[in-house]
Amino acid sequence: MKYLLIVPALLIATPALAQSTSPSDLIQRYSAEAGRAADAGRGKSFFLANHGSGKPDTPSCTTCHTKNPRSAGKARTGKTIDPLAPSANGARLTDLAKVEKWFRRNCDSVLGRSCTAGEKADVVAWLASQ
């Protein structure tokens, strides 16, 4: 009888966790798609670079996320952005749909194009190493 109660409880609790992926899963996924290994050093350079090829108000990832992924960032609206590094924010890089949504938006804003799978692999590898 107890089990009958546990099953619905799990069904309710699972979506809230949204643990659909992990940093290592993402690195594996994007590396496989890119056909090469992730490179954290390259991810760091990419993250810190002033790209300037996208929208004028967001020339770099650091515009909103700061240069330190363990620190909180700030959106242009003034709202705080939780740290990107999983070591500082355990919820980060655990929800594939969310990761993809923000790569889509932010690569378009910062670069004026989509990020390649290789770039995503590199950035995730760097964030995960912080």
Partner: protein
């Protein structure tokens, strides 16, 4: 007498500019006087989650339907950033915003440029306070109950 006329004129101006927000008959729109401003907060989960990621999920009654349609049709260029969504979520949010929209003419985009907004904030917010908030979009910096639809003067 002068004060009463001024108050009446101000109230009239607000009603004329934001008729939808002066609707007391249902729970939509704006209520009370200048010091106890209550609007209907967003209740739609997707709107709350998605619009609320970078700023508060602004009450749908703040803009007319044409504004929401225009905005939700151009999320790739959302005030200088991409706020792109998958089509199903985008359409769902647009449907909610349009069905709970305020009244008004045209399709204004920036709430902070609406007459009532400017009137409410002009003499209230110093440059320093605005700088601390980061932008006019950061309602919660001063209006602690903004997420729940309370925009009291704090």
């Amino acid at each position: 007498m002068y004060r009463m006329l001024l108050a009446a004129a101000t109230a009239g101006a607000i009603i004329l500019t934001v008729p939808a927000l002066a609707d007391d008959d249902d729970d939509r729109g704006r209520r009370g006087d200048d010091h106890h401003t209550r609007v209907s907060a967003v209740t739609h989960a997707a709107t709350k989650a998605e619009c609320g990621a970078c700023h508060i999920a602004y009450p749908a009654g703040f803009l007319p339907a044409a504004s929401w349609r225009k905005m939700m049709g151009d999320l790739d260029n959302h005030f200088g950033e991409s706020a792109a969504l998958d089509e199903a979520t985008r359409a769902d949010i647009q449907a909610y915003l349009v069905s709970h929209a305020g009244r008004g003419s045209g399709a204004p985009q920036r709430i902070s440029e609406l007459r009532w907004f400017v009137d409410e904030h002009r003499d209230e917010v110093s440059r320093r306070e605005l700088a601390r908030a980061g932008s006019w979009a950061n309602c919660g910096e001063c209006h602690r109950g903004a997420e729940r639809g309370y925009f009291d003067d704090d």
